[in-house]
């Protein structure tokens, strides 16, 4: 896995006349977890969306670097894994079919056992792997979403409220996941959960 870093400078975002983010700066790099904290509506998700290249900032810039070479915006997504409350997986497909689909889109040839291992690791029992996601509980869906985000072992991992809908065990799974990816990838976590704040190597507090 190559070391991709993400630097953002003076990022602001307005929706019409409403200012959501005002001049936020920071860096994502391997070995450090950046926690983005703040109350609901402070712009945590907006910041993560901008970092993912899904939204353009009104002001400021985001730069992806692979080593020293800057990456074009159209290639960011190849280096990126993301899970967020508004990023669902397909309800008509099973967990396994979802992962097969996303693996194929990313040009990965992963065998079913590998994918099942991944789902197991995130705490989705094997008997659920082939049922359609539409029949899942919200916690089980969250695990599939997380699996989708880390499927390709991305060098940049953005997690927006990763423990939402998860029980105590689920929270532990996310904590393990963040600990593992801290060594592998540049990680950003947007959260309100005080327990998750403790993962921070760096922290951005957004205010309303």
């Amino acid at each position: 896995m190559s070391a991709v870093s993400v630097e953002f400078k003076g990022v602001s975002k307005r929706f019409g006349n409403r200012s959501v983010l005002a001049a936020v700066s920071g860096t994502l790099q391997r070995g450090r977890v950046l926690v983005v904290a703040g109350p609901n509506g402070a712009g945590k998700s907006t910041l993560l969306n901008i970092l993912a290249g899904l939204l353009r900032p009104s002001r400021g810039e985001v730069v992806y670097r692979d080593g020293d070479a800057p990456l074009a915006r159209t290639h960011w997504f190849e280096h990126l894994g993301m899970a967020a409350p508004d990023m669902a997986v397909y309800e008509e497909l099973s967990a396994l079919e979802n992962l097969r689909f996303f693996a194929r889109l990313r040009g990965l040839h992963l065998e079913d056992p590998t994918l099942q291992e991944l789902l197991d690791g995130l705490g989705l029992p094997p008997r659920e792997h082939t049922r359609t996601v539409g029949t899942y509980s919200s916690g089980m869906r969250q695990r599939v979403k997380l699996a989708q985000a880390i499927l390709h072992e991305p060098p940049v991992l953005l997690l927006d409220e990763p423990s939402s809908n998860l029980d105590e065990a689920g929270h532990g799974v996310v904590a393990d996941l963040v600990a593992r990816f801290r060594e592998l990838a540049a990680v950003a976590v947007a959260t309100n959960d005080p327990r998750e704040m403790t993962w921070a190597d760096a922290r951005i507090d957004l205010a309303l």
Binding site: R14, F15, G16, S19, R56
Partner: protein, 228 residues
Amino acid sequence: MTKTRLRAVLQWALGVWFVLVILAAFFYAPSASGFKGESARIVFFHVPQAWVAVLAFCVNLVASLRYLRTRNPIDDARAAAAARLGLVFSLLATVTGSLFANVMWNSFWNWDPREVSIVILLLIYAAYFALREAIPDEERRGSLSAAYAVLAFVTMPFLVFVVPRIYWSLHPDTIIGATGQLKLQMESRMLQVLLGSLVGFTGLFSWLYTLEVRLARARLARRGREEV
């Protein structure tokens, strides 16, 4: 001469020019043979209106393409301004054409290919604004409506050239020639007035267009000041 002075002079010149064109259309140009009564005189207003509707469509395309490249909000404002004027002028061209059709063929509407073309142009403009109203985010509004404008432009050549060729048309041949059965020979004085009117309407379009763009620029500038 300052910019404001120049503008004032040009506006006055445009006003005088239009008075001359209107007078010439009724008193200088002879009446055309092969048409009922004086109905052919509407050509001096109808054709320039249709021309401006198409010109506005082209300006909209150029501004849209520029917006997709630069993402400068003023280009989006340009595209919207051109479309607004295009909507007005295609409405005018439709109404004047329809009046003429009623005099000539006793029916306001005949589903002639040219009529269909202008109606589709109207529909495209209407759809363009319906789309704009449905997108609250400004940047997304700009890029999606620009994309729609470009997509719509692709169908234009088919409306103007292909469909009238497949179908038989009542419309007198003017500038764009598909082979209709009524060959219109322009007498030279008529041609002078028509060209004069074309210049006048193009001037009117550029005046209104610049006004809209200046207004949009002022709005953007004010918002920029509020942001800082």
